[in-house]
């Protein structure tokens, strides 16, 4: 039985269709989750996709955090049992939900940036990156207006020390992110927030590379080892 991966649609979600496609291409079954329904439909993992949830009113991700769909998701993610990948707006939602530290602020240029970006995978010890090797460079599109990761120095030091910096921009961070951080994880490694969009690097035809597929195949490998899908397969 294929792993079932939920993709949440908030009002204003945009890359939900693309995240579902990436899940499918990786060999899992995408399951649509609606913001207004707290039922996670028994999924094995969840992707919070990019977009402008609730119009990004107030602050990116600030309203989505209170959506009914988050009520079951947040505790399960926090305790380490539910793998969650937040991409772009999803990353912002994870920060607003306090599942991840720090915040995403306006790009240094104050302009939206859409660019094929080289990113270095700094940690392969997460549910979403175990198929990469540490130090591997990948090309994944970055497309965001508020993508500059910020946190206080102590938090940044702690993220570095505990190996929770998952990905870093190669060269100068295009958006001014502190320490070039493009993605981080929680302490269990099940929750990952990523500013670039791996779901847009899964097909030669439409992406700058297929380097992003690894995030989704990593999840499947992780579930095969630990998750309910493994239990179903062996049970």
């Amino acid at each position: 039985m294929a792993a079932r991966v939920g993709v949440v649609t908030f009002p204003g979600s945009l890359d939900d269709r693309d995240a579902a496609r990436a899940v499918r291409l990786a060999g899992a079954e995408p399951v649509s989750l609606w913001h207004d329904n707290s039922d996670l439909r028994g999924v094995d993992a969840v992707v919070l996709p990019g977009g402008f949830s609730y119009g990004d009113y107030l602050r990116c991700g600030a309203i989505a955090r209170f959506a009914p769909v988050m009520t079951e998701l947040v505790p399960a993610a926090r305790e380490g049992s539910l793998p969650v990948l937040g991409i772009c707006n999803g990353f912002q939602i994870l920060c607003e939900s306090h599942l991840l530290p720090g915040a995403l602020t306006r790009n240094r240029s104050l302009r939206f940036i859409n660019r094929d970006q080289r990113v270095r995978i700094e940690s392969a010890a997460t549910a979403w990156t175990n198929r990469y090797t540490e130090g591997e460079e990948v090309c994944i599109v970055l497309k965001s207006g508020e993508g500059s990761f910020v946190a206080d120095e102590a938090t940044l030091d702690e993220l570095e020390r505990s190996g929770r910096v998952v990905a870093r921009y190669v060269g100068e961070a295009p958006n001014g992110a502190r320490r070039g951080i493009a993605g981080i994880s929680n302490e269990h490694g099940n929750v990952v927030g990523l500013m670039p969009h791996p779901e847009h690097a899964v097909e030669e035809l439409t992406g700058a590379s297929t380097d992003g597929l690894g995030f989704f195949t990593s999840l499947l490998a992780h579930l095969a080892e630990t998750g309910p899908a493994a239990a179903a397969a062996t049970g």
Partner: protein, 765 residues
């Protein structure tokens, strides 16, 4: 709360027939006002006058352009690709497999000068709703932009504002921006052009039309509430020449909310899917006036509206203001009573406010004869009672006088042959760099990097390639390609040929991506139609386009006219922007413009015939500041042959790259291809000046692997396209040699020269 003024009712209009009315301030001419009185057989009420003033404005009625636009129908090529023609919100084209595509380009020039960010943003919003209204899911946007000189102070206000507006609105809607154009010129300084294109995809059976059949059906207004923004926008802004008081008109510009529009798109598509609407119209220019008159005229002809049921964001609005408001993100649907509950449920699911504001009514044969009957009430009193067709379809039509301007002969006689040519290798090299850094030629990524080109995951090609390309249908192989082009310099020199050249370039761009050109849309940007010289440009331009479309079998599916792009007496260079849509059976065979990174040794071939044609060229402008003579000759037979060759070569996968030749000629095309591929090339030519800078049409450079070259040249012969091998891919520089010399430009110099102008002028990080 202020006391609500008493509305001007039909009864009052009958009781006080000679009350003076401010029709001139609303842009209604004396004879137009007299005609309204004849139609109604009394003076109009204030609300009726509001409706006529916006519906008969140049922007909505096409009163000056109509007699010329008719050619697009009269000269339409035979064929069955066109499912819905001009006159609806947008034309619809069959692209095979039961899929249909609707696309249209529209201007938002004047608002974008007054308030660049909101003006451009709502331009995107408006064209997206036009496409949605046809029943299609919008899948991509493009934009064609013109600004004043890059170093002009006001350009630094207008350009970043326009780009941020397009970026803000389009990105928030989740529509990939797949290309467009960026140009500069002195005439655009007070008259920027912001032409937004949207393309949508649907199944044949899902096509929706603006009509209101069935008496008893409910008229539902849904989406945003109605406010005072954009009141009079149609008549005041788009239909009058700018003067020094433009900034006083700021409140006339609408304010957009892309989040609401995104919900409106998803909600509307769900309503369509579930069969809950029988007629639909978006509210754009002229707002409720336009939607009610057009829906009624397209249906039984009868409609009754209770204007006081329109949800307002400003409770002090009068009936006239409600009718003229251009508040964004609103739609009007006609719904059968039995479907109303389900309709409302879907709106609730998407948090979309919806209100029944009236219903479709029957009309008597006499009323039908007069143009139907639209009645509107305000708190029970009748404020409108008019035949809707007289506003929507039977507006004034002007045969504006036109005459070839006296200075046209002198302009054409000022030929570029007299311009000094580069004297030696160094000067030639220097001029290549000058052309490559000309504002309309240089790297546009300062602009295009602000647009999301990836969202939806179906973008096969986007800027900076010759055409944008989108995969159609869920993960299918079929695709559509789109390109827009316009060249104000060419059109100024010869409006007929210049317009055909713009069409030919867009056609060629689509072909260079491997797609077959299928249909055309246009946005015709001109000065004042009251100037006979401008009107001559317009007449020549439309004639040129209609003739070209007939010859090439690509029907015009719709478009938009923007007049009054002028400051005082000075009009812009006439700038028809032509959009061409093509179809490709298998997107995997598409061609792009980049030299193959690992293609060292691959052959570079020049297709087509090069003559010394630098009239209106980038070289003449960038090196000599010259505009004169004639634009390059248009050879539509050669364009067609080239397009057929490229489509067949792409299909058989004989080519590694293809790039059409246009602005700047061969030097620019090769530099762009080299930069995009990250690899250089060496090219040998005979007559260096002509080879590098001529802008002769019907040409492209292509790259073929050595083992494919013979098959490809055989294919060229079959199609009658001249092909010459001019060089090979490889190395870290762009190298040109010719019988008496040569020069090289290393890739880094090339990159910096091409890249620098926009960040230098507009600021980097």
């Amino acid at each position: 709360m202020p006391e609500q003024p008493q509305p001007d009712t039909v009864a009052a209009a009958k009781a006080a027939p000679e009350t003076p009315q401010p029709y001139a301030e609303l842009g209604v001419a004396d004879d137009e006002y007299a005609r309204i009185r004849t139609i109604l057989d009394r003076r109009p009420t204030a609300a009726e006058l509001a409706i006529y003033s916006v519906m008969w404005s140049e922007h909505c009625s096409y009163k000056s352009s109509k007699v010329h636009l008719r050619q697009f129908g009269e000269k339409a090529p035979a064929g069955d690709a066109l499912l819905v023609g001009m006159g609806e919100n947008a034309g619809v084209v069959d692209v095979g497999d039961g899929n249909a595509v609707t696309f249209k380009i529209e201007s938002h020039n004047h608002p974008s000068y007054v308030e660049p960010h909101q003006g451009a943003a709502t331009g995107v919003g408006g064209i997206v709703r036009d496409i949605l209204t046809m029943g299609a899911r919008p899948v991509a946007v493009m934009d064609a932009l013109r600004f004043g000189p890059l170093d002009a102070p006001d350009t630094r206000r207008v350009l970043p504002g326009v780009v941020s507006g397009i970026s803000f609105y389009g990105n928030c809607l989740g529509l990939p921006n797949i290309g467009g154009e960026l140009g500069f010129g002195a005439g655009y300084a007070g008259n920027p052009l912001v032409n937004a294109l949207c393309v949508g995809v649907m199944r044949h059976e899902d096509i929706k039309l603006a009509q209101a059949p069935g008496p008893g059906n409910k008229v539902v207004l849904f989406g945003a509430t109605t406010g005072p923004d954009g009141i009079g926008g149609a008549s005041v802004l788009a239909s009058a020449t700018f003067d020094d008081e433009s900034h006083a008109k700021r409140p006339s510009v609408q304010v957009g909310d892309p989040f609401l529009e995104k919900l409106l798109i998803e909600c509307s598509l769900e309503l369509f899917r579930d069969g809950l609407v029988v007629g639909i119209q978006d509210l754009g220019a002229a707002g409720v006036s336009c939607a009610t008159t057009e829906l009624a005229a397209g249906g039984t002809g009868g409609m009754r509206i209770e204007l006081d049921r329109v949800p307002l964001r400003d409770s002090t609005l009068t009936p006239e203001e409600i009718l003229m408001s251009e508040s964004q993100e609103r739609m009007m649907a006609v719904v059968e009573p039995a479907s109303l509950d389900a309709f409302m449920d879907t709106c609730r699911k998407w948090d979309i406010q919806a209100s029944v504001i009236g219903e479709v009514t029957d009309v008597t044969p006499e009323e039908a004869e007069r143009g139907g009957r639209l009645v509107m009430t305000w708190n029970g009193e009748t404020v409108v009672d008019m035949p809707p067709r007289t506003a929507s379809d039977e507006g004034p039509v002007y045969e504006r006088p036109y005459a070839r301007p006296a200075e046209q002969d002198a302009l054409q006689a000022d030929i570029p042959e007299s311009l000094e040519r580069p004297g030696d290798d160094d000067e030639l090299r220097e001029q290549v760099l000058t052309v490559l850094s000309a504002p309309g030629v240089c790297d546009p990524s300062w602009v295009t990097e602000q647009y999301d080109s990836y969202v939806r995951g179906d973008t096969v090609l986007s800027a900076p390639h010759d055409a944008g390309m989108i995969r159609v249908g869920d993960d299918g192989t079929r695709g559509i390609a789109l390109a827009t082009d316009g060249n104000g310099r060419y059109t100024r020199l010869d409006p007929y040929a210049g317009t055909q050249a713009a069409f030919a370039e867009a056609y060629r761009n689509v072909a260079a991506s491997g797609a077959r050109p299928l249909a055309v849309t246009n946005c015709l940007n001109f000065g004042s139609p009251e100037d006979p010289g401008v009107m001559w440009q317009f007449a020549e331009s439309t004639r040129g386009l209609a003739d070209a479309c007939l010859r090439m079998g690509t029907p015009v599916t719709g478009g938009n006219v923007s007049f009054y792009n002028q400051t005082g007496e000075a009009a812009i260079n006439p700038t028809p922007v032509i959009g061409v849509l093509g179809v490709i059976d298998d997107v995997h065979t598409r061609l792009n413009t980049a030299l193959p990174r690992h293609g060292s040794g691959a052959r570079i071939l020049l297709l087509g015939t090069t003559a010394e044609e630098v009239g209106g060229s980038v070289w003449a402008e960038a090196v000599h500041g010259h505009l004169g003579g004639l634009p390059p000759r248009v050879d539509l037979d050669a364009e067609e042959a080239l397009a057929r060759l490229l489509a067949e070569a792409a299909d058989e996968q004989l080519l590694a790259a293809a790039h059409d030749l246009s602005d700047g000629g061969l030097a620019v095309a090769l530099a762009e291809s080299a930069l995009r591929g990250g690899i250089g090339c060496s090219v040998h030519v005979d007559d260096a000046f002509t080879a590098l800078f001529s802008e002769s049409g019907a040409r492209a450079v292509v790259v073929a692997d050595p083992e494919d070259e013979e098959a490809f040249t055989r294919m060229c012969r079959k199609h009658g396209v001249p092909a010459a091998e001019i060089g090979t891919v490889g190395g870290a520089s762009l190298t040109f040699t010719y019988p008496d010399g040569g020069f090289s430009i290393d890739m880094e110099t090339l990159r910096q020269t091409h890249r620098a102008p926009l960040p230098q002028a507009l600021g980097d990080d």
